[in-house]
Amino acid sequence: MLADCIFRYAILRIVARIISMPTSTQEKTIFIIDDDEIIRLSCEQILRKSGYTVKTFANGYEGIERLKEVRPPLLVVDIKMPELDGFEIIKIVRKIDPDLVIVVITGYATIETAVDAMKMGAYDFLPKPFTPGELRMIIDRGIERWRLAKEAQLLRKQKEEAERKFVTLVSHQLKGPLSAVKQYLDVLLYTSKDQLQGETLEWISRSQARIVEMIGLIHDWLMLAKVERGAFSDRTVSSDLEKIIESVVREYRQLPAAANLSFHAELAPNLEKVQGDESSLNMLVGNLVSNAVKYNKPGGSVNIRAGKSGTWIVLEVRDTGIGMPPSFRQRLFEEFYRIKTPETQNIPGTGLGLVICKRIVDELGGSIEVDSKEGEYSAFTVRLPIANAKEVEYTKAVGK
């Protein structure tokens, strides 16, 4: 799957480069569509002297067909022609190539026809009769405009690409050194635990904990950046929430912080699949269960319920923890917001988990709410659309 993606990406890059690297002939090719032979010949002669490659056509159909293949930067078109007139041609070629610069030739240079042509996307107009100088000036200006537009387009693409790469690369650069430091400490503890003194041991453990915190922060930040760019979650697939809940519970049960907590999952039988991809749902449920573990009380419990309500699957993750006063609730889904109380000061966290949850839920077309009582509990309720039958069938058919 990934190799395939990399391969496709490489091909796309090559294709993009070819497209964005117009050959000098393409860049200087001008199409002229005019039923008047004298205009065609004189324009061709004038523009050829200025170094342009000129292709002339006596009617619109022929010109449009060739335009699909050649993709010239500029088209000169006569308004008044039998069969396909200039306005109709503009309408069609705009759809083929939105970047094409169009110059209109008009025999009756009334303001109205010129304005009409401009409204339809022509760049400029040339009233008949015109001098070679006027023609050259307008064409040069049009070509320059096309070149600048292409350049801006390319820059925009490069910027987007750089932004996309930046996040992954920076995260890798930040995590690399931290990973190495953590690895040294892990191995040191494993191989020399017996020779280390009490305080040394404690300092190493504290260092490990702080590094884990930092790695977690980078991880969450990367996820958030991805989610913010959109198209992180996939609404076109459906997932089995039961399976996801099971695997998340299995994972979080093993955490040291969950040692004295009990987990209860109460899932409606034959729960329908929800709309969304497995990895974002995993992250959503994982973040909620992680919070329920972290902000719980010793001997407390984590309760997960899921059931159907109309066209929704309702998931509730409830803890028996420290809860929160109502004033905190509104800010809960804000970036880097963490509730600061004596109880929470030693709980590691990045303040991004719920933000990520909110973004995922939004993208999947659902909602998330919180209910809490200080000192007693917090309960997060997520509503996710049930995957529709068609998608379920499709998923079955492709055997995913």
Binding site: M1, L2, A3, D4, I6, S171, H172, K175, G176, S179, A180, V181, K182, Q183, Y184, D186, V187, L189, Y190, T191, H219, L222, M223, S279, N282, M283
Partner: protein, 146 residues
């Protein structure tokens, strides 16, 4: 290459982070493994060919962003290494859920994926398990041949 029972099992680490390599090398050597390492895919492949390790630990992001994946595919093309257990050890594993691929899926024939930094106990357990499994496969296929 025939190995006697007493000869220490050999691990090859292909990773560009020398500190990471040093930490893992210390851990593995303390547990009685023989360790070789290479800082990039090309040298790694060369060393894998000549030294015939019992297991390979492979990083993903080296000089190229996906170097490890291509190295792995190369490893599998070498007949003597086609069955050698490979553990992909990378920090991208943890941030990219899409990288969590099924080792059985043909395109990325790794035996296991572990996130960096790796828990020493976990690494040693998995290294030993995979080596035993592959030794079992080897001896049974030899038995069949006989």
């Amino acid at each position: 290459m025939v190995k006697t029972m007493n000869e220490p099992k050999a691990v090859l680490i292909i990773d560009d982070d020398s500190d990471f390599v040093r930490a893992i090398r210390t851990l593995l050597e303390a547990s009685g493994f023989k360790v070789r390492s290479a800082p990039n895919g090309r040298d790694g492949l060369q060393l894998a060919r000549t030294s015939q390790p019992d297991l390979i630990l492979l990083d993903v992001m080296m000089t190229e962003r996906t170097e490890g994946f291509f190295v792995l595919q190369e490893i599998r093309r070498i007949p003597e290494l086609s069955k050698t257990p490979v553990i992909i050890l990378s920090s991208i594993y943890s941030d990219e859920p899409t990288f969590r691929v099924d080792p059985d899926a043909g395109w990325l024939p790794a035996n296991l994926f572990l996130a960096k930094p790796v828990d020493p106990t976990r690494l040693l357990t998995e290294v030993t398990r995979l080596m035993n499994e592959s030794a079992l496969v080897k001896s049974s296929s030899e038995a069949v041949r006989r």
